[in-house]
Symmetry: C2
Subunit: 225 residues, 2 copies
DNA sequence: TAGATTGTTAATCGATTAACAATC
DNA sequence: TAGATTGTTAATCGATTAACAATC
């Protein structure tokens, strides 16, 4: 799945994972995002440094692997002390290229949409919800969590004028494919799907389907087994 | 992380993954849960059979790996045809030991709690939400999605009398640790955390922290890179 | 039959981990 | 200094995949 270069890097000496050199593997990218989540919470709790052992206990990733993942990009830690929380946050953001702001459009102003709009979980990670779209004319012009609700018809104009890179679907399953089609048509390439609907999209579009029940099945297996 | 037996199975002949023989690896369990999600949706859409290639395109898991994952437990497919959707659903449920009903207690009746209570995403996978707990006395006795709201004080009695195996936290971050402590004390061993709070629990308790923004960071990397 | 798709092998590649010297 | 923790090596283990015979 990961496209590898045909010319291998020298076996020794050169950084294996220097920024810009190669695309991160799926596993590394997922783990870095996970570390970031913990670091941001740790910072909120007033922690200034954190050891790979601490990170391991929160993320359930082996501490050696954490050090290995990080050391591929630089020497971020201090021996005998650990990692500075603030600087590690910004280093990982650089690696994941999510230092900047990214604009999100949210679809659906039901309970789930409202929960997302009023949470700061996206804001904490540099995502800005720039608009909520809903089919109900009653909601048009209202604000939810400080964000204006617009009619679905404004989708195309809004996406291009506001540089929306991600569409988040919190609509009923039977409306999801239609919104997805319009987002793809409008040029959005990353869709976050909170509905159960399996979305049919062209290969260049990334769909992430959120599946709490699936995660739960999986967690429960290790409890029952 | 996975505990391996010291006595290895014979190299050839015997089923490598027979039911009850060994615990599934983390990866296999996660993928099986993923296949199940797609199969259940496919069934809703009226599909009767599905090929490993179809499953691959929905799950982004290599089709060879899907066949390999499944064939470790039996010969579920028909060459030239594919897998029967219905029977594959029940086979995977058997493997994941989630054929039965499992009782869930939901905490928090805000927007997120209501979204969860009124969705059928948990019900589709054999989870039954038996109660919603909320601090607000105004909500006590009301019903949301057909489920009764109870005061937090009823937690301990309810969890033991109703055999609750999973606690789902849709409460504000500053209330999450307290609810988690009480759940652990009451004997619940699987906690699903929708708050941002990092939960401190004993090692025998499994916490799954849902992190939409983290998943998004990760999806976005592959778009930006 | 001809086409499709499974089940399985064999080879490769990457992830994981224990261990420890370096050093804060 | 003594204790702690990083960065890195070297070895192992498991995941992944291409390929294809079996067979529906």
């Amino acid at each position: 799945m990961s496209a590898r270069r045909s010319t291998d890097l020298p076996a020794a000496g050169a950084a294996r994972n220097g920024l810009g050199s190669e695309r991160l593997s799926l596993g590394v990218a997922a783990r870095l995002a996970r570390y970031l989540q913990v670091l941001i919470q740790a910072r909120k709790m007033g922690r200034e440094t954190i050891s790979s052992q601490d990170l391991a206990s929160w993320t359930h990733v082996n501490s050696t692997q954490i050090r290995r993942d990080l050391s591929g990009f630089g020497k971020f830690g201090k021996r005998g002390v650990g990692y500075n929380v603030d600087s590690l946050v910004s280093e990982i953001r650089k690696i994941l290229r999510t230092s900047g702001q990214h604009n999100i459009a949210l679809f659906g102003a039901g309970h789930l949409g409202r929960a997302i709009a009023t949470s700061d979980i996206f804001a904490d990670h540099g995502f800005r919800i720039v608009s909520i779209f809903d089919v109900s004319p009653k909601l048009t012009g209202k604000k939810i969590g400080g964000i204006e609700v617009r009619p679905l018809d404004d989708l195309e104009d809004f996406v291009s004028s506001e540089e929306v890179v991600v569409g988040v679907l919190a609509v009923p399953a039977d409306a999801a494919q239609d919104v997805a089609d319009r987002l793809v048509e409008a040029g959005v390439r990353v869709i976050f799907n909170y509905s159960e609907q399996l979305l049919d999209v062209p290969p260049e579009v990334t769909v992430h389907t959120s599946s709490p029940a699936v995660d739960l099945l999986y967690a429960l297996y290790f409890y029952l087994a």
